[in-house]
């Protein structure tokens, strides 16, 4: 934990030049808020941690960035917790099974994802924030908003549905263009039924469907970026350059200084 590494400084003296290991604990940021109607039975006024969200298309490099960010924050002495889309204990498996069997429609799709996030918000995110951790969320409510909009679900409904979520302190949006994205996805994992939006374009060529669906999602993310003031990062840059940009913003958010060392930890 960060607190264990805090050092007492004699007052009135200029702090010595900080080394990478001398990370200061996160300053509690202004009180957390729920995104919508919230959880009436949970008090979040005392959450001391910081919620950092990374959003962006499938295959854009989110998890790489989250991993590097986690590593750096830990070197700086912060307690870090990670949470990822559909990784809940409660319905993670159900979602995988339902996806395989293509048993979902737009309604159950949204509701299962909401259940997944609610489980993680209550059992992972809030407890970690309460203990002062920096929580890194690989995808958050905005992914649901973008997908719902791309599937023409009722926008207001989806936003009300996610009213239980804690508002993040910052959202990084890894922005990419469809063409670059396609090359990356084809090179790494190939096309996935849902990522290609095949549920909306039945019988369509998977490549065309992927292009159409991902372009729609990118348009929606762009719209959300403006609405919710995301910090947009150009995902076509080098991994380490993207990471440096993210670190610098997080350093600002946590009120810690950002040095040449911070630019290099774990990076080429």
């Amino acid at each position: 934990m960060a607190a264990a590494r805090t050092r007492n400084r004699p007052s009135g003296r200029r702090p010595r030049r900080r080394t990478a290991l001398a990370g200061l604990p996160a300053q509690p940021l202004a009180g957390k808020r729920f995104f919508g109607r919230g959880l009436p039975y949970v008090d979040i006024s005392d959450l001391a941690g910081t919620l950092v969200v990374v959003e962006g298309s499938d295959g854009v490099g989110r998890s790489t960035q989250v991993g590097l960010l986690k590593n750096w924050l830990e070197v700086r002495g912060f307690g870090v917790a990670e949470t990822g889309w559909t990784r809940s204990v409660l319905v993670g498996e159900t979602i995988d099974l339902a996806k395989e069997g293509h048993a979902m429609n737009a309604l159950t799709f949204n509701l299962l994802y909401a259940t997944d996030l609610a489980d993680r918000v209550e059992h992972e995110v809030i407890p970690a924030l309460r203990s002062g951790f920096v929580v890194l969320a690989d995808r958050y409510i905005y992914t649901a908003f973008a997908r719902a909009a791309a599937r023409r679900a009722d926008n207001e409904w989806v936003r009300a549905l996610y009213g239980f979520a804690v508002e993040p302190d910052i959202v990084f949006y890894l922005k990419i263009d469809t063409r670059t994205l396609i090359y990356r996805v084809l090179k790494s994992s190939g096309l996935d039924y849902w990522e290609a939006g095949m549920d909306q374009n039945p019988g369509c060529d998977p490549f065309d469907s992927f292009t159409r669906h991902q372009s729609k999602l990118i348009r929606e993310f762009d719209r959300l970026a403006a609405e919710f003031s995301f910090k947009t990062v150009d995902a076509r840059k080098e991994v380490s350059d993207i990471q440096r940009e993210i670190r610098e913003s997080v350093a600002g958010l946590l009120h810690i200084d950002f040095t040449e060392e911070d630019r290099m930890i774990g990076l080429k």
Binding site: Y41, E93, A103, L111, A118, G163
Partner: protein, 243 residues
């Protein structure tokens, strides 16, 4: 926000009949009797029950066993189950012109989830996709009566039925009384909000069934679905069915 699905006509050729009420109110018995009667009259009926879709069955079971469920995730799992059944079990028969009898509907979620502590407006929003029943009948019964019926029939009250997860009381019976008391209050608030018809569920089974059948006939008549008067089962026969 745009209008709630529960507040506008569904527009399908079929008829949706919903029974609601706390555990032990007798609503399932009444729903079963209505189904028998309609079928005996040559009407195609589809029956659907709360929390019965296979989509979230495992998650619900695991969540209960491992004590993972919170009021919100419990609520969302039920909503997912409801959405799945609505899409595959309720709307298709309604499109085909059938009568759908639903044992519990969205109102169960509004009553129970609110009693468990979720925001009453949030849970209403979650169910915006629901469709309005042609008849929603609320079987109103005092806690003591429902308790007596449940204890008489199967001795043990179920953990979640008693709202033991809410921590109202460590004693099963006391918890049941407190939790179901809250649920009752929520139902009472809803009768006006969603136009639920109220049935005095302390009346004899046959009397309730007689009244229920009259209500059903009233909504089927304008749809050109006629049920002969003599088809109304005389009290004694209905008694034999229900007990």
């Amino acid at each position: 926000m745009a209008s709630h699905g529960l507040l506008k006509e569904h527009g399908f050729p079929g008829t949706l009949i919903v029974v609601e009420g706390i555990d032990g109110s007798g609503k399932s018995t009444q729903a079963m009797l209505i189904k028998q009667w309609l079928e005996a009259n040559g009407i195609r009926v589809f029956f659907t029950e709360w929390n019965s879709s296979s989509l979230v069955k495992n998650a619900t079971k695991m969540g209960k066993k491992k004590n993972l469920l919170t009021p919100t995730t419990f609520s969302l799992l039920h909503a997912t189950d409801f959405a799945d059944r609505l899409s595959y079990q309720v709307i298709p028969p309604l499109k085909a012109g059938m009568v759908v009898v639903a044992d519990r509907y969205a109102f169960t979620a509004f009553a129970r989830d609110t009693a468990r502590g979720v925001d009453p407006l949030w849970v209403r929003d979650v169910y915006r996709f629901a469709i309005k029943p042609d008849l929603a009948l609320y079987f109103k019964v005092p806690i003591q009566v429902s308790l007596r019926r449940i204890l008489g029939a199967r001795v043990k009250i179920k953990y979640y039925e008693a709202g033991m997860d809410t921590g109202l009381s460590d004693d099963l019976v006391e918890s049941f009384e407190l939790f179901q008391g809250r649920v009752l209050e929520e139902y009472d608030k809803m009768t006006g909000e969603f136009g639920l018809a109220v049935m005095d569920a302390t009346l004899p089974i046959t009397t309730q069934q007689q009244m229920f059948r009259e209500m059903v006939r009233d909504i089927l008549d304008p749809r050109q679905i006629r049920i002969a008067h003599h088809a109304l089962v005389p009290p004694r026969t209905a008694d034999a069915l229900g007990e």
